[in-house]
């Protein structure tokens, strides 16, 4: 998929664990893992909003478009 989720990079920058972020964003750790491992097919605006709020970043910091080779 050309959209890459750079959640782990932002989490490392903010020094926040997956469990803590999942709790703050109010999603299950399993769903956060799906998101982190680029397995997700779609992200709700409400989830993205909560992630950006908790990580104090912009959607572009978490999502990246990479051209298909």
């Amino acid at each position: 998929m050309p959209i890459v989720v750079n959640l782990d990079v932002m989490m490392a920058k903010r020094k926040i664990s997956a469990g803590e972020l999942a709790e703050r964003v109010d999603i299950t750790p399993a769903n956060l893992s799906i998101l982190k491992n680029n397995k997700a097919k779609a992200v709700r605006f409400s989830t993205l909003e909560a992630i950006c709020r908790e990580l104090d970043c912009q959607p572009g910091d978490v999502l990246e478009y990479v051209k298909d080779e």
């Binding site: 956060l32 997700a40 097919k41 779609a42």
Partner: protein, 150 residues
Amino acid sequence: MNPKWTSEKSLFLSRCLTIASFALGIASLFCIPIITEWYDAVSGEEPIHIVLNIALYLSAILALIALWQLHTLLNRFAKQQVFVTENTVCFRRIAWCCFGVALIWLVLCYWRFLAFFVAFIAAFAGLLLRVMKNMLEAAVALREENDYTI
């Protein structure tokens, strides 16, 4: 709908009917030669019991395969595994079994034109099952998309 008639009971009935049909199918394998000889005796036309035997045995085998797939499908439904890729495979196999039966009876039209109606019904059932398979495939894709929407 009758409140006492739950979906679990309906599923149980379907499973029982499938198992009964399977048992009946196996029992009918032993009766095929008798049925074909009886048909030749009452039809008054040229005897075709050998061809009819082959057609019925091949059809019975395909029917048993289809029933087994149906049984697998219902077992998965009982485990709440409805929108899974494996079920579309089952539907596809059953549809191909129907098309196989249709082909066998289409060949039999050379001897008895009446066989065309059996072929038509089997082909129509196969077509319906293929449409259902396509619908289930779309449902599986939707479910996956829903499951992977965070």
